[in-house]
């Protein structure tokens, strides 16, 4: 069997976007090794961004593939996964834009940072499409371990060390719990690892209402909730967000979280349909806790990064509303909100990085009077924060509107009302920052702002930061008004995903789903053949045993 026919048989075309990221990663590593650190810092980030954008373009061509199942059921490149992979790749590209100057400034090497970030992206992208427990776990670990490394990347900074250690310890235990849950699924289903076959075999074994399945569900949710930082699995978030390098926080809050949501949808919908009431109950609890705790605790924060940490916990709570509903509108509002969240959150982080680079602090009180010195930064940060809060013409408003509308349609009234109340609370703390920046009198200006250096965009690595800032600003302010394409994209991604349509009880299983098992059956036949042949050809093992 030659390479080309093997690729066709495995339907390897579906992972072309990931392959592009992988090739970019290898290019960055090898070129950094060959041409040295100084020279490579000039252009490796741009190679990485180009690779990620190319991967997004490749994803565009994956939109309408006839047979999304590849690698004999390992990977499912359906429309939903395409959208999530796109969000993750875009967030990584934006993160690189904002990290160039930051990493140079922190005195660490850029190429390794980009390598690890690209690996995390790769893990997240595979996680969005993995359709099998082993693949899910390996890609989850790829994402997690690279995140731990990124968190501790500025290793001379004790806060970064502390953050990395906390993240590692809590993350390792949560992934161990997830693994236990996955092994329970494997055992209950009688040795199935493919998500799509697990629930059928559990049902046929008559274990649909067993306590084992519920325990597996709880353990799996513990692993997922850690990734999306839902209360009560959020304890790591504030410390990690405060301590780790800011670009890393940006990626964790968008890319890693999106991957977590992709996993949540796929795992809960395909592997746990038998206990859907239970998981909806658990997720509702988590959503309520996250919305309340995230938004209320954020009120008391004095550090900008901690503020955004708690705000991201609250935002995760909003997104989970869409997951719980179990309707078309629910899933697509979730996707839509994540797309909008990508722009506004990354925009906010770009602004914070810029401010930190200029002043060396991220205390909220130090932002006082910034408008006098840097109107562009003030404008961008205000727009992003107001959008996060959900102020009308901006993108965040439409995201929240859609989420709450979907919730109202599905009859989840208490949840929607709670969401409304907590977003009003969130508006308070976002506006507090904006007010601090805009309306302070010149004499009330903070010391850092008084010593604010003049803007010089020509320094190495500042131009990409400017590009990221302006594009996030434009996207956040216009994505709301011109949200129709994004809206259609989100809706289509749900409508075109067989897994969700099946779960919503609408369409028959498409042909692609039935094709894959036949291949795997052939393969298992082949394997048993080989093993029996081997056993026959080695009679000495019987002689001696």
């Amino acid at each position: 069997m030659d390479f080309a026919s093997l690729a066709v048989q495995l339907n390897a075309g579906t992972i072309v976007p990931e392959a592009i990221v992988l090739i970019t990663l290898m290019t960055v590593v090898v070129s950094d090794l060959i041409i040295g650190r100084q020279a490579s810092a000039q252009w490796t980030p741009y190679i990485a961004i180009a690779g990620l954008l190319a991967s997004v373009v490749a994803l565009f061509y994956q939109w309408d593939v006839a047979n999304p199942i590849s690698f004999i059921g390992e990977f499912n490149g359906d429309a939903l996964s395409v959208v999530f992979r796109g969000i993750i790749a875009l967030s990584a590209a934006t993160t690189i834009l904002m990290s160039i100057r930051y990493v140079i400034q922190s005195g660490t090497s850029l190429a390794e940072f980009i390598t690890i970030l690209l690996t995390a992206t790769l893990g997240g992208m595979f996680l969005s499409g993995s359709d099998e427990l082993v693949a899910v776990y390996v890609s989850l670990e790829t994402l997690s371990i690279s995140s731990y490394l990124l968190t501790g990347y500025t290793k001379r900074d004790p806060r970064s060390n502390e953050a990395a250690l906390k993240y590692l310890l809590i993350g390792a235990s949560s992934s161990a719990i997830f693994l236990y849950g996955a092994s329970l699924l494997y055992g209950l289903s009688g040795g199935e690892t493919r998500l799509s076959t697990i629930s059928a075999s559990i049902a046929s074994a008559g274990l649909a209402q067993s306590i084992g399945l519920v325990i597996a569900l709880v353990f799996a949710i513990a692993g997922i909730a850690f990734k999306i930082a839902a209360v009560p699995f959020h304890q790591w978030t504030p410390d990690v967000y405060e301590g780790s390098p800011t670009p890393v926080v940006a990626f964790l809050s968008v890319g890693s979280k999106a991957a977590g949501f992709a996993l949540a949808i796929r795992l809960l919908v395909t592997a746990f349909p038998l206990v859907s009431e239970q998981w909806q109950l658990v997720m509702t609890t988590l959503a309520i806790l996250s919305m309340v705790l995230g938004n209320v605790v954020a009120l008391a924060q004095t550090s900008m990064k901690r503020l955004l940490a708690y705000s991201s916990i609250g935002q995760a709570g909003f997104v989970m509303i869409g997951l719980i509903l179990g309707t078309d509108a629910g899933y697509s509002s979730m996707v839509f909100y994540l797309m909008v969240y990508l722009f506004m959150n990354l925009g906010a982080f770009t602004c914070i990085i810029l401010f930190t680079l200029r002043t060396g602090t991220d205390q909220i009180s130090e932002y006082a009077g910034l408008y006098q010195k840097d109107p562009l930064l003030t404008l961008a940060l205000s727009v992003c924060l107001l959008s996060l809060g959900g102020i009308p013409p901006l993108a965040g408003f439409f995201g929240k509107l859609y989420l709450f509308w979907a919730g109202w349609q599905a009859g989840a009234y208490p949840l929607v009302i709670l969401g409304l109340v907590t977003s009003v609370i969130s508006i308070y703390y976002y506006i507090r920052v904006v007010k601090m920046m805009v309306v302070k009198e010149p004499q009330e200006m903070s010391d850092s702002v008084k010593n604010y250096p003049p803007t010089d965009w020509t320094l190495p690595g500042m131009r990409p930061l400017q590009v990221g800032l302006v594009s996030a600003l434009i996207a956040t302010s216009l994505a709301g008004i011109f949200s129709n394409p994004l809206f259609t994209l989100a809706n289509d991604s749900v409508l075109k995903t067989p897994m969700l349509q099946q779960a919503l009880g609408r369409s028959k299983a498409p042909i692609a789903k039935q094709m894959a098992p036949t291949i795997s059956q052939q393969l298992s036949l082949q394997i048993t053949e080989v093993s029996t042949k081997k056993a026959v050809s080695l009679p000495k093992s019987m002689v001696h045993s």
């Binding site: 650190r37 100084q38 400034q105 922190s106 005195g107 390996v138 790829t142 970064s160 040795g191 393969l523």
Partner: protein, 203 residues
């Protein structure tokens, strides 16, 4: 019960007792070095249980990876930083311990009830025995190809990450543009850096 079954039951009993004893020791002993050595005992007993389950390759891999690599690394880490430190006994520390014990006992009770009450589907496939390596290899290169290859990326990245964390940090060679960049600063900026390439040439 024939001879083979008897041997299996007795070995299972011994291995299980070893594993439980060692695991409890890992958790409860005060001396961290003892804990680390006992962890090796836990790993070895698990390898023995794998052997009883007819998974000899997994057993050997368990010994090689967990005992030979992971445990030795843990021991290394402990012995290189073994600072004897007397911890102040916490006031009312027993409450924490008791609470932990209650939680653990609760989880144990829950899981064991679950395991006992579930009618597990028992696989009817004949164990591969000596050919297990071949079967594992075939799986790696067919239906588990994707995670297998992804694991290689994961390991590569772990390698790079370990080097990043372990190596000495250097400042860029040309300090010329330092003054110009002075306008920008970070709280994370490490102050006491070693210039790169210097100390290599000295010794």
């Amino acid at each position: 019960m024939n001879l083979a079954e008897g041997v299996q039951i007795v070995s299972f009993g011994i291995l299980a007792a070893m594993m439980l004893g060692a695991a409890i020791g890992v958790v409860l002993l005060e001396n961290i070095v003892y804990s680390a050595f006992l962890l090796g005992g836990v790993f070895i007993s698990i390898a023995g249980i794998y052997l009883l389950l007819n998974a000899d390759f997994v057993a050997a891999a368990q010994v090689l990876i967990y005992v030979g690599a992971v445990n030795v690394l843990i021991l290394f880490a402990i012995m290189l930083v073994n600072k004897r430190q007397d911890f102040q006994p916490l006031r009312r520390g027993w409450i924490r311990k008791a609470a932990t014990a209650v939680v653990c006992a609760g989880i144990f009770a829950l899981l064991s009830t679950m395991i006992v009450s579930t009618p597990w589907a028992i696989s009817t496939a004949t164990p591969a025995g000596d050919a297990s390596v071949v079967v594992i290899g075939l799986h790696f290169f067919s239906d588990f190809l994707l995670p297998f290859e992804l694991a290689s990326v994961l390991l590569l990245m772990a390698l790079i990450g370990a080097v990043v964390l372990a190596r000495r940090e250097f400042l860029p060679d040309d300090e010329a543009d330092r003054a110009q960049v002075e306008a920008l600063r970070l709280p994370e900026r490490p102050r006491e850096l070693v210039p790169s390439g210097r100390d290599e040439t000295v010794n």
